[in-house]
């Protein structure tokens, strides 16, 4: 996973995405802008973050989970 290290901790880009989610950003485009990352990277990273249980996805809408918040 590009955004989550093998030890389960978010990488630098993963942390930026999680912080954007914590600030209330819900869509990949907004998260990319807030995190200063290319949109393709955010779309790819959000998949990893969801699989790791750090965020939930409903349609195009992302939300930080309790597990994700605890990592920050």
């Amino acid at each position: 996973m590009a955004c989550i290290s093998p030890d389960g901790k978010p990488t630098e880009s993963g942390t930026k995405m999680l912080l954007a989610l914590q600030k209330g950003m819900r869509f990949a485009e907004d998260i990319a802008k807030d995190a200063g990352l290319p949109l393709f990277r955010v779309r790819s990273g959000l998949r990893d973050i969801v699989v790791a249980g750090l965020a939930e996805r409903k349609g195009e809408d992302y939300k930080l989970t309790t597990k994700g918040a605890e990592l920050l």
Partner: protein, 216 residues
């Protein structure tokens, strides 16, 4: 060879939807759909740790900022492992002082290379030639360039091609030979005699009814 022949029959052509992929890259797992809404330059190189490819990657890194300003992302590909890619980009940064900021696909299975027609057996059966696929924000293939193993690509031409495609889309015009941003563009030829006659009255710089230029 049979697999190669079958793939050749289905190679993407200009105007076709870009063949889909989900790939392992130096930036993690990426899908083609991740680039929706952006222009994408998907390009292949023969192999990591080779001199022509190294010069090309440094040159692509140099134009990456200019491409991003135009809404374009870069995605490299070769039939090497992700560990080889990581070692190579670290070597390029350490020895040449150039950071490679874009992802590189590790296409060990050749799945994407075959789907996009990047292996030309007359050149090499095991390496990808120097392909450039320009894919638009709707994921349609808009331009394809092939270069042989021995010739490094021209970055000015790649940026010029992007500028030309974007101007064409925005203004519904065409661009003449050697066009550069700021140069006059070609007004599409008229389809009827009436349009041809009207064309000459519209204040364009016309050499004849079918050959009119205008400034943007």
């Amino acid at each position: 060879m049979e697999e190669l022949r079958e793939q050749e029959a289905r190679l993407p052509r200009l105007g076709d939807p870009a063949p889909d992929f989900e790939v392992i890259t130096t930036h993690g797992t990426i899908r083609l759909e991740d680039y929706k809404g952006s222009w994408l330059i998907l390009f292949s190189h023969p192999a990591d740790f080779t001199p022509v490819c190294t010069t090309e990657f440094m040159a692509f890194a140099n134009i990456y900022g200019d491409l991003q300003k135009r809404g374009v992302e870069l995605l490299g590909l070769s039939i090497d492992s992700v560990n080889s890619h990581i070692a190579w980009v670290r070597n390029v940064e350490e020895k040449m002082g150039v950071k490679i900021p874009f992802p590189i696909i590790a296409d060990l299975s050749k799945e994407v290379a075959l789907r996009y027609g990047m292996i030309h057996p007359g050149q090499s059966k095991t390496e990808t030639v120097r392909c450039v696929f320009v894919i638009d924000p709707n994921q349609i293939v808009r331009a394809i360039i092939y270069y042989p193993l021995t010739t490094g690509r021209n970055m000015d031409e790649i940026v010029r091609l992007i500028d030309a495609l974007q101007v064409t889309d925005e203004h519904k015009v065409a661009t003449p030979a050697n066009w550069r941003p700021g140069d006059p563009v070609i007004v599409p030829p008229p389809n009827t005699q009436e349009m041809a006659e009207e064309r000459l009255k519209q204040g364009y710089d016309c050499n004849d009814w079918y050959f009119c230029l205008k400034k943007l």
